[in-house]
């Protein structure tokens, strides 16, 4: 075999090995693009169907949502109407509530005033009850006193009647006695009688003036005592001269009151001591 044949045999060997390697590589690693295409077509078909289904669902959903939206809008409008109505009612209710609160406050104030008034009236009633009880007690006492006074009045009436009878009798006796006194020429002046019958009170005065009487008349002495001192005509008083220095007191005489004024009186000398001359400044007394 020539050299060229040997070269060709060697080249054929190398190329056949290369061919085998490429065929094995293609067989072992090459993908089946037909199967891949089929799978892709199937996937595309499924996706298309799913898309159509989704579109249908979308359309149905849109229709349903549109209807629901319309319903919700209607409900919203109705709810807004109800809300407006409720708001109006709420405003009216709030106004009524405010009015009710105001009235409640007024009623509460009135109730407080009424309670206070009731308390005051109760206290007043208690006080009036106590006063009433006191008045009842006082009334009973007055009734008892009235009965006692009625008894007294009755007794006094009886006594008055008796006194009137006695007075009538005494008037008759008095008339008879006056006739007897007039027939005997005795004085009837009560002052003279009082001076004769009652002693003079314990008084002491001073001689203001003296007047000497004539031969047949008595001496008159004016002194500083009168009816305000309890003296009456007919009372007898002593006249003396008080002690002065070495001179001792001297009895001058006794006078009988013949005229009396409220603060002065005049008496006539009824008893004169020896060498006793009554003069202005001597003392008059009823104590001796």
């Amino acid at each position: 075999m020539s050299f060229l044949g040997k070269v060709l045999v060697g080249l054929q060997f190398v190329l056949s090995i290369v061919f085998l390697a490429f065929a094995g590589a293609v067989f072992s690693t090459q993908q089946n693009w037909m199967d891949q295409k089929k799978k892709v077509d199937d996937n595309l078909l499924a996706v298309t169907r799913e898309k159509d289904q989704l579109f249908e669902e979308k359309r149905q959903l849109e229709v349903r949502l549109t209807m629901e939206l319309a319903n919700e809008k209607m409900k919203a409008a109705e709810a807004e109407g109800k809300a407006a109505t409720s708001e109006d009612k709420l405003k009216v209710a709030e106004q009524e509530l405010i009015a009710a609160k105001t009235e409640r406050d007024e009623q509460r104030t009135i109730a407080k005033l009424a309670v206070e008034e009731a308390r005051q009236r109760r206290d007043e009633a208690i006080g009036q009850r106590a006063v009433n009880n006191n008045l009842h007690v006082l009334l009973n006492q007055k009734n008892e006193k009235n009965k006692a006074l009625e008894d007294i009045v009755f007794n006094k009436t009886v006594e008055e009647k008796s006194m009137q009878d006695k007075h009538s009798k005494l008037l008759a006796d008095y008339a008879i006695l006056q006739k007897i006194i007039a027939a005997n020429g005795l004085p009837t002046d009560p002052k003279l009688v009082a001076g004769l019958q009652t002693p003079p009170p314990a008084v002491e005065g001073e001689v203001l003036e003296t007047k000497r009487g004539g031969r047949s008349g008595a001496d008159l002495v004016e002194f500083s005592l009168g009816s305000d001192d309890g003296l009456h005509e007919g009372h007898k008083l002593s006249v003396y001269r008080p002690a002065a220095g070495e001179r001792s007191a001297q009895f001058l005489g006794e006078i009988k009151i013949v005229y009396v004024t409220p603060d002065k009186a005049v008496g006539s000398v009824v008893l004169r001591s020896k060498n006793g001359i009554i003069s202005k400044g001597d003392h008059v007394t009823s104590k001796l």
């Binding site: 040997k6 060997f13 061919f19 085998l20 490429f22 293609v26 067989f27």
Partner: protein, 47 residues
């Protein structure tokens, strides 16, 4: 010389080149089989 050898009628002992040719034929047949199998996957559709 080779003619003479054939002329002599005596069989020449297979040398290394015969072995290479045998291996080459075997590789070609195996490669063809693999390609046929690959083509069978496509159902013999070439287009």
């Amino acid at each position: 010389m080779s003619r003479r050898s054939s002329d002599t009628g005596s069989k020449a002992p297979p040398d290394v080149y015969v072995g290479l040719l045998f291996v080459s034929v075997s590789a070609l047949i195996a490669g063809i089989i693999l390609l046929v199998l690959e083509l069978g996957r496509y159902n013999w559709q070439m287009g």
